[in-house]
Symmetry: C2
Subunit: 321 residues, 2 copies
């Protein structure tokens, strides 16, 4: 299973999405157009617009609306990354220099703002008020989640907090995308609800797998050092499973008191988590989310698009980056 | 003429607008709620929502939509100020500490993003797609204007550039507010067009007067040193008029070559502009904009609300802060 399997049905449509994204800077200052081009070229797998296209194609939604939705969602995602990379001082993303690596913080802040504005404009162009409302709500949820994480004590372990965090960070946008793609189709309310649920389950699994790859991934493809979340005081699902099985582990106990700032101890903890069954348990949980996602497809007639969506779901847990 | 004269008809409605603004952080993290409260308390004269309320009341628009629109517009304005103050490193605004004076840059960036998101949500809640489109376009215009200003050479004089800049910075939001308030009313297309024009003319005048007050204002009320625009390399209408009358002035000639960075020379230039008739000419131009704004009201029946709108227009050129 690789990205090509689930993306091939929408390869051509994704090009339309990228074209629509690019057009959003057409009237803007030349430097801003160049920044947009850089960001589009540095883009990832386009998993969010692919999700929207696959769901919408399956439910016979008009392509024009799906392309607009896909561009809106991907630009919203891009704008949050532009501000996140600035905030984190990250100089590379997916092996490509970030905007803040080349531009001043002020220009980077404003470029993110501009991309938010263009994403909102695209959402408005779908001519669907429910979609516009969903879009604005999702943006609020994402940003409130980031602020909550910023204001929260680092290194504390709380499973409920973890689920809320990954919902805000990732699953909310997957949910919105799948929901919105169904909303602009002729599908009935029950199917729309199913597709919203599909996006939610997929998004939760996606972030859990991301968090597992922080421990197990190939360092070059993940693009950051192993265990970087823990070194940054961010406790994710594998750490939570490890803590539950090893409640008296000294490194785990130290987390609440800032122990995550001790690099050697955290390197040891990362090794111990990798050697334990914690990542396997976390992966089992991600697979449960995917099983529930696939179950959502149960009352939709078999089609090539439904198969592609199932492949996308399977890819989310099988992927290596 | 003072702020109270034109604001009294909408005093109570402005409280509803502020309440709607405040509610936007209800579900958010406690620190974010506190930031919103701080920003609302530090708010200015609420001239933008007042404009929307006065136009909408005059045209019998539903109050609920005007309050939502007013809160959307004022939050959009607030979000741009939060990011601007961060970018400029400003520690005070209207005598109150800015958000970035108290919070880290990351928290300030995200708070601005959150307020953008809530403004977009409110715009969506007006249930009017045209308004939503207008709103997103205006946000793009404002941010593109800021980026264009940032990327442009400082100290260069160009009248056309100046008009474009103040349109993007100020008049676009005034125009959108007045336009949108008319759009949600039962007024016909001709009246809607007039009110859009009214907002445009008012906004252009408003920014020109702001730029004049940078030269002539009472330093305490304006809240920044006299001539701070020129010291920052920002050429505004009084400087343009002065340059047109004094094309061989050495300080003016120096601007294109970075002369604005010489503090003593710029202090002399500010004094020379103040002693010239440049600010009077600029004020005449602002008054012409206001005359055109008031002319837009010509085919609207006389009413207390129309009078209030005329008072608002007159206040824009008579104000001292």
């Amino acid at each position: 299973m690789n990205a090509i399997t689930f993306l091939s049905p929408v390869n051509e449509q994704i090009k339309l999405v990228e074209e629509r994204m690019r057009e959003q800077a057409d009237f803007a200052h030349a430097d801003l157009r160049a920044a947009m081009e850089h960001l589009i070229k540095a883009g990832g797998k386009r998993i969010r617009p692919s999700l929207g296209l696959l769901v919408g194609n399956m439910l016979a939604a008009p392509l024009e609306k799906l392309v607009t939705l896909g561009a809106a969602v991907e630009l919203l995602h891009t704008a949050t990354l532009v501000h996140d990379d600035l905030i984190d001082g990250a100089l590379l993303r997916r092996g490509t220099p970030t905007l803040n690596a080349r531009w001043s913080p002020p220009a980077t802040v404003l470029t993110g703002d501009f991309i938010f504005a263009r994403a909102a404009k695209l959402a408005a162009e779908t001519d669907d008020l429910r979609l516009m409302n969903l879009f604005a709500d999702t943006l609020s949820i994402i940003v409130n989640g980031e602020l909550t994480q910023m204001f929260s004590a680092r290194g504390l372990i709380d499973r409920d907090n973890y689920y809320k965090r990954i919902y805000a960070k990732t699953a909310s946008l997957f949910e919105m995308t799948s929901h919105a793609a169904a909303m602009v189709s002729p599908a009935n309310d029950e199917i729309i609800k199913c597709m919203r649920e599909f996006g939610y389950q997929l998004g939760m699994a996606f972030q859990i797998v991301d968090d597992i790859l922080d421990f197990t991934g190939d360092q070059t493809s993940v693009g950051k050092p192993l265990g970087s979340d823990l070194h940054n005081g961010l406790v994710t699902l594998p750490s939570i499973y490890f803590a539950e099985s090893n409640p008296t582990d000294a490194d785990i106990l130290s987390l609440a008191n800032g122990g995550w700032t001790n690099h050697d101890n955290m390197t040891r903890l990362v090794d111990n988590i990798r050697a334990s069954d914690a990542t396997r348990k976390a992966m089992q949980e991600a697979e449960n989310y995917i099983d529930r996602a696939i179950a959502c497809l149960g009352n939709i007639p078999q089609s090539a698009e439904r198969d592609a969506l199932e492949n996308l779901a399977k890819y989310v847990v099988d992927r290596k980056i």
